[in-house]
Amino acid sequence: MGQSEAANAPTDDVGGEGEDFDPIGTLTLIGIYFAILVLAWVYIYFVEFLGRDLVVVG
C-alpha cells in the first residue's frame, strides 16, 4: 500500500524476512492445480468435444 499506509505497518519484525520467505507450499499447490487444468482441458477438448457427432467443419 502507499506510503501513507506503510506508516501504519505493525511493528513486528517481518519486513526483513520478506526477502527470505519462499512460498514453497504455494508453488506446490499451484503446481497441482496446473496439472489438473492441463489434464481436464485435454479431456474436454479431445474426448468430449472432438469425439462427438456432427462436428462443425464448414
Binding site: 512460498p23 508453488l27 496446473f34 457427432d53 464448414g58
Partner: protein, 169 residues
C-alpha cells in the same frame, strides 16, 4: 520491481498455458477443420422470409454427390421443417435463421450448435454418419413458450432419404 523467483516461474507457466489453450483451438481449426459460424451468408428480411429463395420453403435438398443443403426457420415456438430429415454418410450444410426473435439451434448431445438471429443466417456444415435420431432444442430464451420449442433431426439411410422424394417438408 522485485518479483519472487517462484512467482516468475508461475508467470512463465501461466503464459505457456495460455499459449497452449490458443494453440489447441488453432489445432482444432486447422487439424480436424472445425469452422466457426461467421458472416458467409447475406442478411435476410425476417418479416419477408417467404420472399427469400433460401427460406421461402424450409427444406433439405441435394446439391451434389453426398452433399446436401438444409434451410431451417426457427420461430416462436418450433422449427421448420419438422422433423429435419437428412441422409446418412453425407455432408450437410445447415442454414438457420429466425423469423421473429433470437433463438438457439442445438442438436442435443453433439457438437452442432448455433444461434438463430432474425435478419442473419447461420451456416454450419456437418458430416453425418450412421442413421440415428437427434433431439433439437432452442437453447436461447425466446418467450413464454420457450420450453416447448423442440424439434428432431432424423438421419436416415440414403435409400430411405431418396424414397421420401429427396426432400422433407
Amino acid at each position: 520491481m522485485h518479483i519472487h523467483a517462484y512467482e516468475k516461474l508461475w508467470l512463465a507457466l501461466s503464459i505457456v498455458l495460455i499459449l497452449a489453450l490458443i494453440g489447441t483451438v488453432t489445432y482444432g481449426a486447422v487439424g480436424p477443420g472445425v469452422a466457426m459460424v461467421a458472416d458467409s451468408q447475406s442478411t435476410v428480411d425476417a418479416a419477408a422470409l417467404d420472399e427469400d429463395e433460401r427460406f421461402s420453403e424450409p427444406r433439405v435438398e441435394q446439391v451434389g454427390e453426398n452433399e446436401y443443403e438444409a434451410y431451417i426457420v426457427a420461430y416462436q415456438f418450433g422449427f421448420e421443417p419438422s422433423p429435419i430429415v437428412v441422409p446418412a454418410n453425407s455432408t450437410v450444410t445447415l442454414h438457420v435463421t429466425s423469423r421473429d426473435v433470437i433463438h438457439g439451434f442445438e442438436v442435443v448431445g453433439t457438437s452442432a450448435n448455433t444461434m438463430a438471429v432474425p435478419g442473419e443466417v447461420s451456416e454450419i456444415t456437418v458430416e453425418t454418419e450412421e442413421p440415428t435420431e437427434y433431439g433439437l432444442v432452442c437453447n436461447e430464451y425466446c418467450g413464454a413458450g420457450h420450453h416447448v420449442m423442440e424439434g428432431k433431426i432424423n438421419v436416415v439411410s440414403q435409400s430411405e432419404f431418396e424414397s421420401r422424394g429427396g426432400d422433407s417438408e
